[in-house]
């Protein structure tokens, strides 16, 4: 118990007087997960619209696959990406870099983001699509209108995806290598993988402090996004 309290104190003192190690790990965490989300979002939006609004054979199977892929453990994704990259000649150089981490997080969060977006779109009344149609909208315009109606759900999808990405350990550990330079700055070490190595070394207070920092930062992100959700509309 005392150790946890000590870590909480260490965490807050770290937060207010961050050292280069902490700052660089925060940067890597946000950079990797942020880019992964930025890449994932538009692609998923288009795919989700196509799946939710379309009618084609195998649609049900596709949705089932997406839902299954949502539950993929992060280590499995990391391992798959590691094996893939190590076989594919020109892409070998991507291993042990933040880019590989972005790739694996992309694979990890896309099913989740897709799934939430599809749910959001399916939650929009069919009357909306019909209203758009009878006012002269074509297929693409109808899709865009439905997407706009589902915008709160899409925001939720983004938050969920980012949350999953920034808090995961398994995939970035494997494809990134948890590398820090000899001077302590992080190269592919995230807040989560830093916890792994510090607790492995026995620096439990530091490990827990990093964990608390992660929680506080995620809390801040969620607070900001909470402001962006407008009440009473498009639910």
């Amino acid at each position: 118990m005392g150790e946890i309290w000590g870590s909480v104190q260490a965490a807050f003192s770290l937060l207010f007087h961050p050292d280069r190690y902490l700052l660089s790990t925060i940067l890597v965490s946000f950079k990797v997960s942020g880019v992964a989300l930025l890449l994932c979002f538009p692609v998923s939006a288009v795919l989700a619209a196509a799946i939710a609004l379309g009618r084609f054979p195998g649609r049900g199977v596709l949705k089932l696959l997406i839902r299954t892929a949502m539950g993929l453990p992060s280590v499995v994704v990391g391992l798959l990406v590691l094996l893939l990259l190590s076989e594919a000649g020109p892409f070998k150089g991507l291993l042990w870099t933040p880019r590989a981490m972005v790739i694996s997080q992309l694979v990890l969060i896309t099913p989740l983001v897709l799934g939430v977006m599809i749910s959001a779109l399916e939650g929009v009344s069919r009357r909306v699509a019909e209203a758009a149609h009878v006012l002269g909208a074509n297929r693409v315009q109808i899709a865009w209108t439905v997407v706009r109606e589902a915008r709160v759900g899409f925001l939720t999808a983004g938050v969920a995806g980012f949350g999953r990405a920034i808090a995961e350990v398994g995939s970035v550990l494997i494809v990134g290598g948890n590398i820090a330079w000899a001077d302590g700055t992080s190269y592919t070490r995230t807040l989560t993988t830093a916890i792994v190595v510090e607790s492995r070394k026995g620096n439990f207070e530091m490990a827990l402090a990093f964990g608390i920092v992660l929680l506080v930062l995620v809390l801040c992100v969620n607070l900001i996004l909470g402001f962006l959700e407008r009440p009473g509309e498009a639910r």
Partner: protein, 285 residues
């Protein structure tokens, strides 16, 4: 020595383009977590201006990564495994780097009565006979490998409710063993670093303090075979090996302490090198 200076001079001359290259080193968690590698790599960076990417994943994984050609150089401590990869041609140009030792640790009340023994195999026999809890890492690490060799020497296949596998790294394994009051084998360095958080004591000493030579823990460094993986950075890998085994590198290892204790003893420089350092031990066939 002269050859080393010549190589150094050549590499310094190439320093510009070299700096744009990177070196990927796969190694064990014990070498990395102690902080020794950071110290060595800082010096290497000063020497050549090259940053080393360290992937600390453990012995088994390091060797497998080398086999896939995704790293340049490997520093591990499991001679039988190293020999196998040398024989199969994945890795070449092995050098001794340093050694330390393992120790067997256990709960202070020593329920299996093994304290003070100078034969690790005998201690293992007694622990198995008394069916007192033993916690194994079970993760293909150098430590795990040595543990299995000792069981083999003791003529025992460890099995039963008393033999547990944690699958964890050295530090986590010690913590768990401490909680459970179990025996385990550990490298001395990690134990010293974590001693104050643990409820464990050394029951069988290693050769550094005059104990069982079977607990010797030598580290070797090898380069990934450029014939198999031409896109790997062989020149830089050899420069790194050269640096680690040079007087400068070896001095860093000799002077490295944690809490006043030396964790590693350099072994690369020998007046009469033993040929078996460079090749698989059974190279004669």
């Amino acid at each position: 020595m002269k050859k080393f200076l010549a190589l150094g001079g050549l590499l310094l001359a190439l320093g510009g383009p070299l700096a744009a290259m990177e070196l990927v080193l796969a190694t064990t968690t014990s070498t990395y977590d102690t902080g020794l590698l950071d110290r060595l790599n800082r010096a290497f960076e000063e020497f050549l201006g090259v940053k080393v990417k360290v992937i600390a994943v453990g012995t088994g994984a390091s060797l497998e990564l080398a086999k896939r050609g995704v790293v340049d150089v490997v520093l591990v401590h499991a001679r039988p495994l190293e020999d196998r990869y040398l024989r199969e041609g994945w890795l070449i140009n092995r050098r001794d780097v340093m050694f330390n030792d393992f120790v067997v640790v256990g709960p202070p009340d020593d329920p299996a009565g093994v304290r003070g023994l100078t034969d690790a195999a005998e201690a293992f026999r007694r622990i198995a006979a008394a069916e007192v809890r033993f916690l194994s890492r079970g993760d293909n690490s150098g430590t795990h490998f040595r543990e299995m060799e000792i069981w083999k020497a003791a003529g025992i296949e460890p099995r039963g409710k008393w033999y547990l596998i944690s699958g964890k790294g050295m530090g986590d394994n010690l913590v768990q063993a401490s909680f459970m009051g179990a025996y385990t084998i550990t490298d001395r360095g990690t134990f010293i670093a974590m001693r104050k958080n643990l409820d464990l004591e050394i029951v069988v000493e290693g050769p550094v303090k005059g104990g069982d030579p079977a607990l010797m823990n030598p580290y070797g460094i090898m380069a990934v075979n450029p014939a198999r993986f031409p896109d790997r950075n062989y020149v830089l890998a050899m420069a790194y090996i050269g640096f680690i085994t040079s007087p400068a590198g070896q001095r860093i290892i000799a002077e490295f302490t944690v809490d006043g204790e030396h964790l590693f003893y350099p072994t690369a420089l020998k007046a009469d090198p033993d040929f078996s350092e460079y090749v698989p031990r059974d190279w004669r066939g």
